[in-house]
């Protein structure tokens, strides 16, 4: 099982990453990926000029690695890729790429979905958005808690 977890301070190319990930796992029949990119406009509709993610060195990457371990312990995967940007980005820039390789499609879907829910709501990143020349911090959303709660219910069921 090959796991790659990286915290990147420079732009990355998701297509190239996915391509080498799928080539590295010839035994896996299925690959599920999630790519998050900086949106051209915020929920309110105004144009986004930039997005900045800050992290805290001693916690952020170790937290991502612990998440990867948790994902691997829950699903039978051939490979797992977790890449996350920090720093200043502009619309269209990739922020996060998660990919799971598995023999069984269902495992790959669940693993990528779980990883994203936890990356988004439990990883040590703080986000601010620049629109109309002003920076605004992005707060946690109620939806993040309901996304996480899905997995807690399924834990009870296991």
């Amino acid at each position: 099982m090959a796991t790659t977890v990286r915290l990147l301070l420079e732009p990355f190319d998701p297509a190239a990453e996915l391509s080498s990930f799928s080539k590295a796992h010839p035994a896996a029949g299925g690959f599920v990926s999630f790519l998050g990119q900086v949106r051209a406009s915020e929920s309110g509709g105004s144009a986004v000029e930039a997005l900045e993610l800050t992290h805290y060195e001693p916690l952020t990457l170790p937290g991502m690695q612990a998440l990867a371990d948790e994902v691997l312990s829950r699903w039978g995967l051939d490979g797992l890729l977790i890449l996350h940007r920090a720093g200043v980005m502009v619309p269209g820039d990739p922020i996060v790429l998660v990919a799971a390789a598995a023999r069984h499609r269902r495992d790959a879907f669940a693993a990528a979905d779980f990883a994203m829910d936890h990356l988004k709501s439990q990883s040590w990143f703080w986000k601010r958005e620049k629109a109309g020349g002003a920076w605004r911090w992005i707060e946690p959303r109620e939806e993040d808690h309901s996304d996480l709660a899905r997995w807690e219910l399924s834990e009870t069921g296991n």
Partner: protein, 83 residues
């Protein structure tokens, strides 16, 4: 024993505190309350919010019973931003 502790402010706390980091002189082992008392009120107030997590030298620690020593790094982590 005296020395300094490095305070690190993440997310909006960096804005609220006017800086991402601050070095504070200690006059010995200090509790969280000691540290907050040594800061101006507008700066101490957001740090006292129990939703702000603490990391001492890179490890998450509970607020209760926290003891900070010279040379330590204490980070204040507000809720992360989510999706």
């Amino acid at each position: 024993m005296t020395g300094s502790v490095r305070l690190v402010f993440l997310g909006r706390l960096a804005d609220q505190c006017g800086a991402g980091e601050l070095v504070l002189e200690l006059s010995g082992l200090s509790t969280l309350d000691d540290i907050l008392l040594g800061l101006p009120t507008p700066l101490a107030e957001p740090l006292a919010d129990p939703r702000v997590k603490l990391a001492l030298n890179g490890m998450l620690v509970p607020r209760e019973g926290l003891v900070v020593d010279a040379g330590d790094e204490l980070a204040f982590l507000p809720p992360v931003s989510g999706g």
